[in-house]
């Protein structure tokens, strides 16, 4: 199972192993990692599962859909080139070692 590291806003790192096909949002929630709200339950409606992907990974992730791109305009913490919605990214073997940073605020 690919290992993914979540880095909290205050810098604490937590590495978890996630089954292929799990979304980064579910991976965080199922492992008790704080910092993801996902109010809409993963339906790309709320922009409260915002993460910053580690720089090395920005280009390696599947592209944002138009819906994700538009929703990222509504994040509570500033949007950057590294911004993604964690409900829209599914874990695959290619993502082994992925590192994502959680934002200060989600709501």
């Amino acid at each position: 199972m690919p290992a993914v590291t979540y880095v909290s806003a205050d810098g604490a790192r937590e590495q978890v192993e996630l089954a292929v096909g799990t979304t980064l949002k579910d991976g965080a929630l199922e492992n008790g990692i704080d910092g993801i709200v996902a109010e809409c339950g993963g339906n790309a409606m709320c922009a409260t599962c915002h993460v910053y992907v580690d720089e090395a990974w920005i280009e390696r992730l599947p592209e944002r859909s138009e819906v994700e791109d538009e929703l990222l305009e509504s994040t509570a913490s500033e949007r950057t080139a590294a911004s993604r919605l964690s409900c829209q990214i599914k874990v695959s073997d290619e993502l082994e070692g992925l590192v994502v940073q959680l934002p200060e605020e989600q709501e």
Partner: protein, 402 residues
């Protein structure tokens, strides 16, 4: 419809649109969940799913479980719909996608957040009013009073005739069930109501800068014409009022009957938003929606033929012990995310952020002023083929000492 039905499909004689069922849906929900992952409802010749896993999966598989044949009992491929179908609710991709993009562009979380201040002013005034009264009907004077003011204000609908909004929503949601007495009763006098709604969907009647006018502005970007924009405004007016009213009424009911839970919200009003999420799970305003199979599909060993109606019990999924711990316990500290009270997938409620904002603001304002809510008479249900909510809820509130 004549295709063979595998013999191992459990069969139920329950009528989910009977008054008996609607009055107390939770025991029959349990019965349906326990009968199996998919159950044949003999009375209507349809299928039902009531477990979280299957309901969630069907909602997220629109290629197999389509919406364009209607999300009610009526099959639009065989019967003429009672109104031109919704471009959102009663549509499939790719047509659905254009309509959805138009409306999600208008109802972005950022835009919804921008409404907070106006909503807070109304909520504050309303809470002061009911606290002064002490005893009031939490449906008429509270749960209904708030959304029927702030929602049409946000959409940009003129003041005159707004009473039609509740009547229209009630009828639309009844029409997803059979043409029973409940439906017929709600359809009385609807010609004028429908005429008013159609008028309100026209650009010239919508205030500049409101959500309705925004739909007209966004529509051309997704190749939608003015007639289509009008239908999208109709979606807002159909789905945005009764649902929220029932959600708020159910919230007050839950708090009045679970005083310890209200005490927790009163102690920390920032919990109002999460508490509302739990209300939507526990007393889901929208109880059911139909889908129609596009092909023969196997569900846990049972084959559903093509073109069959499938009734998805959102409210039963939200209390499925296979998914939730102690599902019948109302617990405002629960992580209720993952409930299907707003649906899931491409048809998930497009106004859900607006509903959350209304609830957050109103329940938050009440929590800051009121330390206890108690029933002051018997609540009365408002029976509807699809919705669960109250017709009246007499309560007494005790203001917190300043």
């Amino acid at each position: 419809m004549s295709a063979t039905i595998t013999s191992d499909a459990p069969v139920s004689r329950l009528d989910p649109f009977s008054e008996r069922f609607l009055n107390d849906p939770y025991p029959p929900h349990r019965e349906l969940r326990d009968a199996g992952p998919v159950v044949r409802l003999e009375r209507y010749g349809i299928w039902a799913m009531a477990r979280h896993e299957q309901v969630h999966a069907a909602l997220n598989d629109p290629e197999t479980f389509r919406s364009a044949a209607g999300v009610g009992l009526a099959d639009f491929t065989k019967e003429k719909p009672f109104r031109p179908p919704s471009l959102l609710l009663e549509a499939d991709p790719p047509e659905h996608s254009r309509a959805r993009r138009t409306i999600t562009g208008v109802l972005s979380p950022k835009r919804v957040r921008s409404l907070r201040e106006a909503f807070e002013r109304e909520a504050h005034a309303l809470v002061e009013r009911v606290v002064d009264q002490g005893r009031f009907d939490a449906v008429d004077e509270f749960a209904e009073a708030f959304p029927t003011k702030v929602f049409p204000d946000a959409v940009g609908v003129p003041d005159k005739g707004r009473e039609n909004l509740m009547a229209y929503g009630n009828m639309v949601f009844n029409a997803f069930g059979p043409q029973n007495e409940i439906f017929r009763e709600s359809a009385k006098g609807q010609d004028e109501v429908r005429e008013w709604i159609a008028e309100m969907c026209l650009r010239e009647n919508l205030r500049d800068g409101g959500l309705g006018a925004d739909i007209y502005e966004h529509a051309p970007r997704h190749e939608m014409g003015p007639d289509e924009a009008a239908l999208l405004v109709r979606s807002l007016l159909s789905a945005g009022v009764d649902t929220t009213v029932h959600g708020l009424g159910n919230a007050i009911y839950c708090f009045a009957t679970h005083p310890d839970q209200w005490a927790a919200v009163h102690a920390d009003p920032s919990r109002a938003r999460a508490a509302f999420e739990e209300v939507v799970r526990f007393e889901s305003p929208v109880q059911t929606f139909f889908r129609t199979t596009t092909r023969a599909v196997e569900v846990e060993g049972v084959t559903l033929p093509e073109g069959e109606k499938v009734l998805l019990f959102l409210a039963a999924a939200n209390r499925d012990p296979r998914h939730w711990e102690e599902p019948d316990r109302f617990d405002v500290e629960r992580r209720a995310s993952g409930h299907v009270g707003f649906g899931s997938g491409i048809h998930a409620c497009v106004g859900q952020m607006l509903a959350r904002l209304e609830a957050d603001v109103l329940i938050g304002a009440l929590a800051r002023r009121v330390e206890a809510i108690e029933l002051d008479g018997e609540p009365e249900l408002k029976l509807n083929n699809t919705l669960r909510g109250l017709a009246s809820l007499p309560v007494r509130v005790h203001p917190a000492s300043a």
